[in-house]
């Protein structure tokens, strides 16, 4: 009986405590800087080295490059860059290997959509995704 009474005392004490719920959809949920949300891509920084494609464990990144329009400059520039978000596991490895930090993580995590097709993010979408960009990389 003592244990039962103790339990009752414990719960009634907690009733007056302030609750710990997040009011998530009403108030945005602050995420720490390191949080891994959907990537932001800087096409101008990309040197088409393919390292992110190689390291991706789920093969969700596809890219193509083309020759630099300025014939005097060597190297390639990016033409298309797609991330298939249906299978991306946000493991952060692509940003880790990127030598120029052309791809970085953002804190944006609200990715629900009504269609799977919308989870196929192309270069433009990733370029425009420029809020809450992670500072530390």
């Amino acid at each position: 009986m003592k244990g039962l009474a103790k339990g009752l005392a414990y719960t009634i004490r907690n009733m007056s405590k302030e609750n710990v719920s997040y009011s998530y959809p009403d108030e945005p949920m602050p995420m720490p800087d390191r949080f891994r949300g959907i990537q932001k891509f800087y096409p101008e920084k990309c040197i088409v080295c393919n390292q992110c494609v190689n390291i991706c464990p789920t093969d969700c990144i596809q890219l193509t490059g083309k020759k630099h329009p300025d014939p005097n400059r060597k190297g390639k520039i990016i033409e298309t860059y797609d991330i298939n978000f249906e299978i991306c596991i946000l493991c952060d490895l692509c940003t880790e290997v990127c030598p120029t930090e052309a791809i970085v993580m953002t804190n944006n995590f609200e990715l629900a959509d009504y269609s799977r097709d919308e989870h196929f993010k192309d270069l433009r979408w990733l370029d425009e995704n420029d809020t809450h960009i992670r500072e530390e990389n």
Partner: protein, 335 residues
């Protein structure tokens, strides 16, 4: 309430029929209102104890319309029935469970004047009719043709048999002291001393047995969502499910009211505070009892079926018997 008695004595006619309906509507709406807000209150109390808000979306900050929305949703939901179910029984079960829960309400005196049927044996009537619900639950468990439901139904029947007896026996003390089974008379006897002080053992036994009758934690074995998923009503959806839900909470209402009447002195005020109207007193005491049920639900785990039986037969029943003896001796010596 003279005219009600006159009405009862008069010859049946269509106008009488409508009069009946009209006078029972307020009660019905009070009960339904209670059920609506008891569900909400339970969720809120659980929420606050568990450091969260509880419903807070539908109907303003406090989620006042949450249950209304839930009921509306249940009403427009598809009524599903398992293919192998026993059709007539499946259809009948919610009604068997639900109707007695409303029938018992007629016997409860809320104040001295607000009482619908002043039975001589109101107490006996209440206990007898409330026992019928178990048949509904058992029927639901059987008719669903689901193994979990069947188990829930069986558990419910076993539980009812074990706990109905101590429930009744714990009341014998009250009857001994008041010398009546009329609920109004019992309340009037408690004008100075509520029976909780005279019959503390009886009170505890009654509350425990009542919790078991209500299928609430720690005795919610027929439902036991972590073992039997939802027990007897696992196959019910939509409005039929709402019936079970309704029955459950109407019983909570009725049982709390009965505890208030039998042990807490009903509408009797605390001496010196008689200026507060009697229905307020009733409401206050009643709310405390309801809160207690919710508080227990937030705290304790569930018993196991065999422990429940053991507890019922080996502890509760002897204790109830001892209580009768004790009451008889006390009554003989001091009153």
């Amino acid at each position: 309430m003279e005219w009600v008695s006159g009405l009862l004595a008069s010859e049946p006619s269509s106008s009488n029929f409508f009069t009946y309906i009209f006078i029972s509507l307020p009660l019905l709406s009070v009960v339904l209102g209670f059920v609506t807000y008891a569900i909400l209150a339970e969720r809120k109390v659980l929420g606050y104890i568990q450091l969260r808000y509880g419903p807070n979306r539908t109907g303003g900050k406090f989620g006042l319309l949450q249950t209304v929305a839930d009921v509306l949703k249940l009403l427009i939901k598809e009524d599903t029935r398992p293919k192998q179910a026993d059709r007539p029984l499946f259809w009948l079960a919610p009604i068997i469970a639900f109707v007695p829960s409303f029938m018992v309400l007629s016997a409860i005196p809320f104040t001295e004047s607000v009482v619908f049927a002043n039975f001589g044996v109101g107490l006996l009537y209440f206990i007898a009719v409330s026992g019928l619900t178990t048949i509904g639950i058992l029927t639901a468990g059987w008719a669903s043709n689901n193994k979990y439901a069947l188990m829930g139904g069986m558990r419910s029947a076993a539980q009812m048999i074990s706990y109905e007896i101590p429930l009744l026996m714990s009341l014998v003390g009250v009857v001994l002291f008041s010398g009546s089974m009329n609920l109004i008379e019992i309340v009037e006897q408690q004008q100075y001393v509520p029976y909780i002080l005279v019959q503390p053992i009886g009170f505890i036994i009654f509350v425990i047995a009542a919790t078991a009758e209500l299928n609430r934690i720690p005795f919610d074995l027929p439902e036991a969502e972590s073992e039997l998923i939802a027990g007897y009503h696992v196959e019910y959806s939509g409005f039929r499910f709402a019936f079970f839900m309704l029955a459950e909470y109407v019983y909570l209402f009725a049982m709390s009211a009965l505890i208030t009447v039998l042990f807490l002195g009903g509408w009797q005020p605390i001496p010196g505070l008689g200026f507060i109207p009697d229905f307020v007193w009733f409401a206050i005491k009643f709310s405390i009892v309801v809160y207690m049920f919710m508080w227990i639900r937030a705290t304790w785990p569930r018993l196991r079926a065999d422990q429940l039986m053991e507890f019922g037969w080996k502890i509760l029943l002897p204790a109830a018997m001892a209580n009768i003896f004790l009451s008889a001796i006390v009554k003989e010596l001091f009153f």
